[in-house]
Symmetry: C2
Subunit: 333 residues, 2 copies
């Protein structure tokens, strides 16, 4: 485990809950943080990233580091023959993502990009409904991911800056919804987006709205805010809906799944028990572990992470130029 | 009552439930339809629109006629000194809307445009929350209105054609959400939109997605589909959400109002009893009646109807040109 912020604790718990994974050692720059993490999880600790990469017991690195450091760290790991799991997004630039993909291919190591939301039972069920044609002909998709993280960043955090977190809530949280939309409906052809800055003092925007056109022709909307409330129980806004000719499916991370079928009596709740705690994160990590063992690509690897990043980059360019932007145009550069 | 399709029956019931309104007479081209309506509601009937306008007992006409006939009919009514209530949208073109407004001003008659959704208790409560600052600084708004009306139109219906129903679900149903967004958050500066045609054979599109920037700077998304299910109970997708720094408010026509406040235990249901049946339609009509009696503009008159139409027209132009379009640009022509 490399990078020991609060999110790495959630991932470490998921690793320890899995029979397929073992936490060997850890590294972050601050010794006290290494000590704390090492104590809590009973794993080793290293004094440098280089030492992690030289540790023969380490098969793979899990990078929970600033977005704009993923590329260099992944390339170093690949050079040492270590498999790699980076937190989302894969990187902050298309060029960085391409370098990572290429380095991992050459080294023959697996590159996995965090995409836990698509591993929730709700999203798995959603995809099954779509694949089985239960929604009929798809008409529209819509999603929102809004929370209050924007208030917590200070100039000490890499998320404060455009260099680390370009696009703000779009690349930090809505990235999950973009991956899920891609998972459910395939690649995106074109987006039109607009950003705003309503509250916070950091470099990043607070809000982004966009429409998307998938390569299939399906249309969708997406909204994300970094300055909207979270409850004491940690609940915020996180939903994804799809509208079809036969049924609409509404998924809310907290309220659950609802289906509105043509001619049914009412909109109905789908009885579906979600993974407790970080079960979806564990499932995502186990896909990575299996990919390593089976010598196959993970479900969300470099190419998938690159497409999601390209959608985000296209949205950012659209907001900048005031024009809809083709994802292919961003990828062609 | 002029134009006696199924919607005029709902309006007639609202008129008959109100102590401020009286249904005097009716007209539509087909004699059997006039007879049926007249029998059902115990009102008179006329053999021509001209006869309605010459009837001295008629103070105001309620036009439930094709969108693209509103302008001519309204101008005729104004010439006869009758007050006018048109169904939404005010008209299909900016020029028509302007002609109506000008004719009504000159004749000194009230022009009211149907906007019943903003008269629901939910939308009234929503506006109160926004006005009182309960949401804090507004970050984002989002809305959807999707139903299955697209399947019901045949070449015999004016809604089948671009001339009568340009923009399809955008002008026919999402118009209600556009009015509500305008009611809650003020005028719109710019929109970017995209249409698609996934199922139906008519001239009109099936689906529209867009983002909006309000003059205040607030951003929003809107989606609308004409080919998505309705339940036996007549329930479809109709929601409007707003995200603020202190609270988010979620309004669903059927599920009710929910608020997520910063630091609250949970998202909570707002106990609010909605008008039974067509109470919001009656409230909208009574505002018209009071405007006539008090010699004041109605809450939604020509200028408001024109702004809503201009947003729709800007969205249509955006979908056509592939560029975001300023509402002012559409209005300037």
């Amino acid at each position: 485990m490399v990078g020991l912020g609060r999110w790495s604790y959630t991932i470490a718990e998921a690793i320890q809950s899995s029979p397929l994974l073992r936490l060997v050692t850890c590294f972050t720059r601050t010794p006290a943080k290494r000590e704390e993490f090492s104590q809590k999880f009973g794993c080793g600790q290293e004094e440098s990233y280089e030492a992690v990469l030289r540790n023969p017991a380490v098969e793979a690195v899990v990078l929970v580091t600033p977005n704009n450091t993923h590329a260099e760290q992944a390339m170093q790991a690949a050079a040492h023959g270590k498999h790699i799991r980076v937190d989302k997004p894969v990187a902050t630039t298309i060029a960085d993502a391409r370098s990572m993909i290429s380095a991992c291919e050459k080294a023959g190591v697996v590159l996995s990009v965090a995409a836990p939301y698509r591993f929730t039972r709700g999203m798995r069920f959603f995809r099954k409904m779509v694949d089985e044609g239960a929604l009929g002909v798809l008409a529209m998709a819509e999603a929102n991911y809004s929370n209050d993280r924007g208030y917590f960043y200070t100039p000490k955090d890499w998320q404060w800056y455009n260099s680390g977190s370009p696009g703000g809530p779009l690349i930090q949280v809505a990235v999950h919804q973009i991956d899920s939309l891609y998972y459910l409906f395939g690649p995106v052809r074109r987006v039109s987006a607009r950003f705003s800055k309503v509250m916070t003092k950091s470099e990043i925007p607070d809000v982004c709205v966009l429409w998307l056109e998938f390569e299939s022709g399906l249309l969708g909307t997406l909204g994300t805010s970094f300055v909207s409330p979270t409850t004491k129980k940690g609940r915020f806004t996180l939903f994804l809906n799809a509208y079809g000719s036969e049924a609409n499916l509404y998924h809310d991370r907290w309220d659950g799944l609802f289906v509105l079928r043509r001619g049914a009596d009412n909109k109905e709740r789908v009885p579906l028990e979600e993974y407790a705690g970080s079960g979806h994160i564990q499932a995502n990590l186990e896909d990575f572990a299996r990919a390593v063992r089976e010598g196959r690509p993970p479900e969300v690897g470099g190419p998938e992470g690159l497409h999601v990043l390209a959608i985000i980059r296209a949205a950012m360019r659209s907001a900048e130029t005031g024009q809809p932007v083709d994802v292919a145009e961003v990828l062609a550069e």
